[in-house]
Amino acid sequence: MPMARAARKAPIRVLIAKPGLDGHDRGAKVVARALRDAGMEVIYAGLRQTPEEIVRAALEEDVDLIGLSILSGAHMALFPRVLALLKSQGGHPIPVFAGGIIPDEDARRLKKAGIRAIFGPGTSLEEIVATAQSLARHSA
């Protein structure tokens, strides 16, 4: 009875947001849908969110996990800002993963800065879902 089990156990809550100014949200929507189908409650915050808006949404929604999608190239400015704001809010750290067009060198630096996983084009949805589940489990 997978349904009853999903209903009894508290679902993972995840915020999916797009920082930056590009309007390419197909990737974010596909990921949101896949996480939904994995039984998560996905708060879809949509396009052009500032780091401040993202962090506020994460706190109000009390999410277990944050997923950021970006294709504008501004990730080196925006992702560390999100991490810094999360840190300054105190409390237990909410894991952040990201997806988009992010060069390998940048990805290495972002991971060092605290982004827990970065998914480039061609990543399977299964991998994203599995990573999200494991990040959320370990944050709880």
Binding site: A7, A32, R36, D37, A38, E41, A45, L59, D62
Partner: protein, 323 residues
Amino acid sequence: MKGASSRLPAAARAIIAGDHRVLARTITAVENGDPSADAVVRSLYPRSGRAPVVGITGPLGVGKSSLVNALVGRLRSLGQTVGVVGVDPSSPFTGGSVLGDRIRLERRADDNGVFFRSMASRGAAGGVAGATREVSRLLDAAGFDVILVETVGSGQVDVAIRDIASTSIVVVVPHLGDEVQTLKAGLFEIADLFCVNKVDLPGAELAKRDLSELVTLGGRPSGWSPRIVGTSTVEPTVGIDELWNDVLAHEKFLDDSGERTQGERRRLSSEIVGLARDHVGRELMHRLESDPALRRLLDDVVARRLDPRTAADRLVGRGRRSR
């Protein structure tokens, strides 16, 4: 048993002091049925019942989230603080959901006068989640001046918002159906206000006229005659001030007519009975499963030696004797 206000749990004190993180955590605990929220919910109850709770309901795609955003903007410009609960459906297959009500929200990220919480329906029917009432009450106790509750896109029988909101706005758009739709029982009966959104579209006048006719056919037993407002949330917005003024007019009517107390009594009695029913139901289910004599009762019903009604009588009767 100490007085509720003299010894508040730390989380309750934090919520009253405006700690949004603790508020958010407590909401999660309430949604999950986590016993850790129990004392907080109980102790904050006396502080609720202050803010108008405005329900925004109507079919999917009529613009409820955009209207909520417009109302939040209007209320902030009036200096009022706003707590919002936006409910979206959970999947009946996986339990997952995409909560998208937040997407329309425009506000300054440093504005503490707004708290927005998305909520999945988690299998509840009626247009809201099982925990929506207690969560809106927490926002009320947290001191927000106005509580807005946006339901899932509602069908004709999704009227549970009536058990939560002091004012219910039913939102429609042009061309949802002919005037016979407005005569049908259910959703249209619970409207304190009708909002014809996307009023810039053709057919808006006809929609308003159909609703006016519905209203003239007879108001509520309370004497309140639902108002009809045309709105558009596309800049420059139309009708948002009027919509809010009509909410206030209805709230004033509730106070002046004594309907507020009546409504509260009706809502709270159904809440108490519902909670008690859950309680007793769980207890009886436990007995049926754990007491060998009662398990034989179930065997008899399965084997068609006994009918369910008689078994239920015995279940309750036996429960009384064993006390």
